[in-house]
Symmetry: C2
Subunit: 453 residues, 2 copies
């Protein structure tokens, strides 16, 4: 019997996490002290603070301010192994994921947190003319297009073409669209004012196009109205009830109450549709889920404890999960696609894995709603915050903007980032200058797809 | 005679400047108060502080710290019109330059300051494996390769291939090569230490390969020796008298005193050869210069007043000019290819244009030598500074590093940049962390050419 005595310690359970966004990061952190091996797989080498991505696109911040190397974040958590790679297949039976280089990684527990991408509602050919904003590459692409549009206008002799270069459209008036439009107006009216000789950048038009009947549909109507007023003050032309029917290199066609209109413009930002990461499809197939378990946007309907039907060892968190919040009163509520919900799901999924390892009963997910906030431009924002025992508090204007600033800087990861971001903003606020106005990859002065990072 | 009276003011002379590097920028600034119209043409939208470009490549700084939008720099100089474009032809007879979009711009005076690019001495196929460092794109390319090499090593199972990923070679031990090698060693030994689970980044090798018999050939031998000692202390393996004969995806072949050797490595940085901008050839043809007027590196031999033979209305400044300094004692000396000489040439060329407009006699160029300096890594640098009435002062080590720091921060354009750079460096110095370690454009985890930067 001596031979049967273990010479090595038993291997701890292996938790594989796909995606280093808010959900995946929080899940890995929540397993900090657990006796598990974690492999965190992501296609990029950094965690991105997506709520401030529009600041990269509008040249207000540089990548290091809102993106931290994931490796660095976990340097003091020895149970995490970081892999830079892309999951191309999931084998739920064999409990393994396969990477793009053929490597297979077996798991005991899997957390899928691969997030969302933008969706053109089946019109993928629009992507070329109206890039979305989800990754750093997207942000650089948009930054280049916006800044080069003014350069094109400066060089253009034809009046109509020049005006087309000086017309900017943001499609979709959710928080990202509102932030983009407000900041683009600020760039045209203030940052670039006086820098051109043949054009007046202040004459540029920024249009915010929304299919619904008001901006910020997720907010209460009173705040939507305040946001629209503030946008108008900044010089943004808000066009609600405008449904986009076509996009090409020369502009947008919209349907307004049944009538077709054309908007001539060269620079378009897509902030309208969101679709789940393509990994959702892989997962649904791997777990043999039926159509009812996947929604139109490709999100996976999860069980109350965030696991996949029939696969208690697989959890889905963040934007990829179609989850409901199980309230104390027994009711359920939908969970909004914001970063606090992704973080909360990540923590819940991680804790449930530990409960399951210990042989206990996993808990249902309950979303704690802290509210919503969106900034519009200098000194303006709208806030709908949930105060415990009190309910919703809604306000807008300068104080809302300071509140927005505080929250965003507070949640930025890493002390150094916070300092730099505050400094950059203080500088931008004082001077109207945007420091990150460097365009890379236009050596040939063309917005070629090939050189776009 | 009344009809002949001018109803409009005479048009001021038109000065066209090609290139917004140190030479072109200084020329435009020197014409600040002059009654001339200036058109400044550059392929990028920013002025780049090239001496710190290696800091971008090694993830120590972000672009806004060392690159300023040229438009912003000239926002208060109304006689400057900035054009983002590429000059594809020069017509010296018609006195006009042609841009890539067909636009023709006539000039009365032309300053060509298009600088230099890297040269592979006729082996352009090496470029793919050993990128050089001249533009922001180059810097991002190198940054991506260096950081991803460690990621590849972490994922590689084959021992030999893993070691190849963990071997880094810098070819050419001039200031840029020395700075790159020292900083890469620092990244491997300190910044990344403890962040990987399967490899030990401290075991990475950094080789500095130089064809000559010592590093920093432009410096006095005593400083070369100090630099080599400091590099060795940092962990860099210095290989002098190694002549590169071949480069491919698997490494380098070198000739050492007649013997061929192979160095297996995946990540190679080219810091060896410099060639004049291709505009040199265009200019030589346009001005019908003979072979003797263009050197092997493609630089244009200029007259004592920096103009082109037979074309007093065309000046060449900076790295594109093969200029000599006309000393007080009647002797002439070669001018080194450093930023102070480009700036001094830019100013001289601009002043000579004004002299010529006023009907005076242009002055010869005299280079004021302030010395040379190069940094090696944390706390070490070599300095050879010229003190007026005293001569050369040479020192190395910590004090030299502080001196280097002061000079570089002092000459950075824009107060905000200086603050940020100092903060970034203080942070990096205190923590060994490099904040700009974000890799963009590797969504597919491949170092594809198409997505660079």
């Amino acid at each position: 019997m001596l031979n049967a005595a273990p010479n090595t310690l038993p291997t701890p359970p292996h938790v594989v996490i796909i995606g280093a966004g808010f959900g995946g990061l929080e899940a890995a952190k929540a397993l900090r002290k657990a006796d598990v091996d974690i492999t965190l797989i992501d296609r990029t080498n950094h965690h991105l603070f997506q709520p401030l991505l529009y600041q990269i696109a509008t040249a207000g911040l540089s990548p290091p301010s809102i993106a931290a190397p994931t490796r660095y974040l976990f340097r003091k958590q020895p149970n995490v192994t970081r892999l830079l790679g892309e999951v191309v297949d999931i084998d739920a039976k064999a409990r393994a994921v396969r990477l793009e280089n053929g490597e297979t990684i077996a798991y005991d527990h899997l957390i899928v947190a691969s997030g969302a991408t933008h969706s053109y509602f089946g019109n993928d050919q629009w992507a070329e003319h109206a890039p979305g904003l989800k990754t750093l590459e997207d942000a650089f692409n948009i930054r280049r297009r916006v800044l080069l549009a003014f350069e094109h206008a400066e060089r253009e002799e034809d009046q109509a073409t020049r005006e087309r270069w000086l017309t900017f459209a943001v499609i979709g008036a959710g928080p990202t669209g509102v932030e983009m439009a407000g900041t683009m107006a600020e760039i045209a009216k203030h940052t670039l004012a006086g820098e051109f000789r043949r054009i007046d950048s202040r004459r540029a038009r920024v249009l915010l196009i929304e299919g619904g009947d008001r901006v910020l549909l997720a907010f209460p109507p009173s705040l939507s109205q305040r946001a629209e007023e503030q946008l108008t003050t900044l010089g943004v032309e808000v066009r609600t009830s405008h449904k986009v029917t076509h996009i090409d290199a020369d502009g947008i066609r919209v349907n307004v109450n049944g009538l077709e209109q054309t908007i001539a413009c060269k620079t378009i930002v897509w902030a309208a549709g969101v679709a789940a990461s393509p990994l959702g499809k892989l997962l649904a197939r791997a777990c043999a889920l039926d159509e009812a378990s996947v929604d139109r946007a490709g999100r996976i309907k999860v069980e109350p404890d965030l696991t996949v039907l029939g696969h208690p060892e697989i959890s889905v968190v963040g934007d990829l999960a179609l989850a409901r919040s199980y309230e104390k009163d027994g009711e359920t509520k939908p969970v909004p696609g914001v970063s606090p919900s992704a973080k909360q799901m990540g923590r819940r999924a991680a804790k449930n894995i530990l409960v399951r390892i210990a042989g206990g009963k996993p808990e249902v997910f309950r979303y704690i709603d802290y509210g919503l906030l969106a900034t519009i431009g200098r000194k303006s924002a709208v806030v709908d915050v949930v105060v415990p025992l009190f309910g919703h508090v809604r306000f807008s204007g300068l104080f809302a903007w300071l509140f927005w600033l505080f929250i965003h800087v507070y949640f930025l990861i890493g002390f150094r980032n916070r300092m730099i971001v505050l400094m950059d903003w203080a500088w931008a606020y004082g001077t109207f200058n945007r420091t990150a106005r460097v365009v890379v990859g236009n050596e040939k002065f063309e917005t070629k797809k090939a050189v776009e990072p």
